[in-house]
Amino acid sequence: MTYAKPAFRHPDSKTNEVGCTRRDYEGGLSTLCAGCGHDSISAAIIDACFELSIEPHRVAKLSGIGCSSKTPAYFLSGSHSFNSVHGRMPSVATGANVANRDLIYIGVSGDGDTASIGMGQFAHVMRRNLNMTYIVENNGCYGLTKGQDSATMDTDSVSKKGDINPYMPIDLVRLGIEVGATFVGRSFSGDKAQLVPLIKAALSHRGFALLDVISPCVTFNNHQGSTKSYANFREHNEAMPVDFVPRREAITTSYDAGMVQEVCLHDGSVLRLQKVNNEYNIEDAQSALDAIAHHTKQDRILTGLLYINRDSEELHDVLQTASKPLNTLTQRDLCPGSRFLDSINAGLR
């Protein structure tokens, strides 16, 4: 039995600005089921980090528990990583981010880890607008415990066993917009043309970026009757193409005028979005909620960048924290001497 990935790479494989090939962003060999959408999302994260020329050691990846939360082991092996308690990734991410604001935070979670056990933490991390990218690998079931319906399973979707789900699903993107996420997107593991630029945009966004990525469970939720199978999701996907243009590059793509919205991010890169209609303003929360609801009613699932708020204050702004990571503060920064103590004391007299 041999199951290992050869070290050889394509002799013509490109290197990015920091001298890495795409394979330098890989992690261990996945032990998820063959064909799992999660592996595609890992590959999309690898592509995004490679294309953004992010140095792996500048990334911290965090996760909770579940199939999804195993995946940080399968990408960016040169990054910082923390596999936390079930549903508690947001608080660990908050702690890490407060201590070191210079790292790029990627949280990976699943529908159980986010919408069930982790719902409380999930809502609050969005409300606080922590500067991170939070990816939900959403397959609508608990694959690690034999495929029970999860909280995001659509009403009337049929489980592999044959049961029809009677409950309302939690729509994570609508929740995110409601409670304060400042970048909200939805995508599909089988559509890297959309997913990779979305991840790149999320990583470039300053504030909390939520990506709800539908990721079919090949083992328990890819049958006929399931709404989250590869075939069914493709059939109902209303995809809005996204084009991420880094700061240094000229815009070359052309979409139909009127349907296109360009969004300039904080780092100078530009997002070009092709919207489903002209009225939709992705910088307006109500407009986004209306568009999502409208499509849901028509049995369509709107994917792409759904909402963005570029003028928000992230957690560090609100808390007025130190401008540098705590581990770079010197004794002089932390203990500025008796002159400062005197001035503080004087201020209290």
């Binding site: 199951y3 050869p6 013509d12 494989s13 795409r22 063959a34 592996d39 595609s40 890992s42």
Partner: protein, 592 residues
């Protein structure tokens, strides 16, 4: 815009081409198949796979020109190809007796008589293929033993006579009537003997001479290389002068200089007209010569043989610069400097030609340019339907493995011809494609690809080697080195076979592929596709494997075969079995 068409897997040549080594081999020996057998220490089986295909595994394992190795995929992902040639020798060195596996020769002949002229690899291959079918075969050769140029031109320190004898005898013992020491002076005399077919495998026996001032005067000290090597092989010559110049940059020159070192040559030089990079000799043979303290002097154009009192004293050369003009044409421009090398003997190894003084021109065999017979490139039949050509005699000097390939095809033609069938309707190759899946993560071949560098073949020490021209220089791989080398083979014959109907487009294969071969992409014309793949497919000689439009997205699967490692991870990662690893066995159909 012309969209690419789906790959037609019913064409056996598609997967054949993916097995680069086998495809590059003139005889299409199934290389990965026998390398796996060597790794399993099944040397007899490995030998027979070779013997079926190339007739002379032990000989070729030492002397082949190895067209397979530059083609080897390993060389495209790592620095060095698999040492295919020397692995073949491992099979020959370690086999037991295989005589019980040789084809049975019918006692009752079929009544058809065939003459083979020349006892080299081409004729012997024809004999090997036709004798089991009941043909009666008469072989004529001017030398005292079979093997042709394999015997007269390849020195014993590269090819021991025992190895040669063994493999030549496997064929001759099939009841071939051999007439050695018989120079055929007239083809007509053979035709008149009433043969049903005649095969001409007489090689390219005429060594080129160098007509320079002094050539006539020093006749005794100047030799044509291939004739000199023949005289050494048959022990008519046993020593050479202390100072020897060898002219020429091909493999014959390398054999001449190394032989001279063993016959008493102390100061042996190879002098070549052109630059080092353009030398025709195989790199490994140049290397072996250099290791025996033989300098190779390039950019020297011979000018005259210098002699005193009718005795050669040396040679004068013009030193030249190699200049390429705008059209890329090479010119040797004299620098004005003249160089003199003292020498007791000179060996001229500057090429060899065909010569058919013994074929009468009124036998219905048409001759074309350069007095070469007109031979059909597929059937090897001449314009006299009864006369077939093969090996160097057909299209000029090549090598042993090409002669073998010709022999197989000529045998097919002769058999068709004598069965009253048209020789242009060639039998299709034998093809077998079978899944290698054994279980979860379990394949019948060793699919783990690791970065292991090419093994070096050990040599006998130089002092011993130079004492005796019969001591074989290369010792061959021992069993452990052979195993390590065999494991470097990527098993390119285990094909990635894609069934689009089963694909759910999960991207699992694209994501796992270590060399970015697999793409799911919108169809386009081939040039555009090659540019837009995950890794650009710049080598147009390597095919793209293209599927039908897929059900869910109408995209196509495009796989660039170029640097596929055949590691099987795409099939491992496929949830539906749309990818499978299937062993592809391709065998050129033999006569009968």
């Amino acid at each position: 815009m012309n969209n690419v068409k789906p790959t037609d897997l019913r064409d056996p040549e598609y997967f054949h081409k993916v097995v680069d080594c086998q495809y590059a081999c003139p005889a299409h020996t199934p290389v990965p198949e026998y390398i796996r057998l060597i790794a399993q220490q099944r040397y007899d089986d490995a030998y027979m796979v070779n013997w079926e295909s190339n007739v002379f595994p032990g000989i070729l394992g030492r002397t082949c020109d190895r067209p397979c190795e530059p083609a080897c995929r390993r060389g495209r992902v790592e620095e060095e190809p698999v040492a295919i040639c020397r692995l073949k020798r491992v099979a020959a060195d370690n086999k037991g007796s295989i005589t019980d596996r040789l084809p049975r020769i019918p006692r009752q002949k079929n009544g058809k008589r065939i003459a083979l002229i020349g006892g080299g690899p081409a004729s012997l291959t024809v004999a090997r293929d036709l004798a089991p079918l009941g043909y009666q075969l008469d072989l004529y050769d001017s030398q005292p033993a079979g093997g042709g140029f394999m015997r007269s031109q390849i020195p014993s320190f590269r090819l021991p006579p025992e190895v040669l004898d063994e493999e030549v005898d496997y064929v001759l013992n099939m009841g071939i009537e051999s007439h050695f020491d018989t120079y055929v002076e007239s083809l007509k005399s053979i035709i008149d003997k009433g043969y049903d077919a005649i095969f001409v495998g007489t090689g390219a026996p005429r060594g080129s001479d160098l007509d320079l001032p002094g050539r006539q005067e020093c006749e005794k000290q100047i030799h044509v290389g291939i004739e000199w090597l023949g005289s050494v092989a048959f022990e008519h010559i046993q020593k050479v002068g202390k100072r020897v110049l060898v002219l020429g940059g091909g493999n014959t020159a390398m054999d001449c200089c190394r032989t001279a070192r063993r016959l008493g040559g102390e100061d042996v030089k190879v002098v070549v007209r052109s630059e080092f990079a353009r030398m025709k000799a195989s790199p490994w043979e140049i290397e072996d010569a250099q290791e025996e303290d033989i300098p190779i002097l390039n950019n020297h154009v011979p000018k005259e043989f210098v002699h005193e009192d009718g005795k050669l004293t040396g040679m004068r050369f013009d030193q030249v610069d190699v200049v390429y003009d705008a059209s890329g044409k090479r010119n040797l421009v004299p620098t004005g400097e003249e160089i003199f090398f003292a020498a007791d003997e000179v060996l001229i190894a500057i090429g060899q030609d065909n010569a058919f003084p013994w074929i009468e021109r009124d036998l219905g065999i048409e001759f074309g340019k350069w007095e070469m017979p007109q031979v059909d490139k597929r059937t090897f039949q001449s314009s006299n339907a009864k006369v077939f050509f093969g090996g160097d005699a057909a299209f000029g000097p090549e090598n042993i493995i090409t002669a073998v390939a010709h022999g197989h095809q000529a045998a097919v033609s002769i058999d068709l011809f004598l069965s009253g069938k048209p020789t242009h309707q060639r039998p299709a190759p034998g093809v077998n494609l079978i899944s290698q899946k054994m279980g979860v993560h379990e394949w019948s071949y060793d699919n783990l690809v690791t970065v292991d560098l090419r093994e070096k073949v050990p040599h006998v020490d130089k002092v011993t080697a130079l004492k005796d021209r019969k001591v074989e220089v290369e010792l061959g791989f021992d069993i452990n080195a052979a195993y390590r080398e065999a494991e470097r083979c990527l098993n390119c014959d285990v094909q990635t076979v894609f069934d689009g109907a089963k694909c759910i487009e999960c991207d699992g294969c694209t994501d796992i592929c270590p060399t970015d071969c697999i793409n799911f992409i919108d169809n386009a014309d081939e040039t555009a596709l090659r540019r837009t793949l995950r890794a650009p497919a710049n080598d147009a000689t390597q095919d793209l494997y293209v599927s039908e439009a897929l059900v869910q997205t109408q995209r196509i699967m495009v796989k660039d075969e170029n640097v596929c490692l055949h590691c099987g991870l795409c099939a491992e990662r496929c949830p539906t079995g749309a990818w499978d690893m299937q062993r592809f066995l391709y065998s050129v159909t033999k006569a009968g």
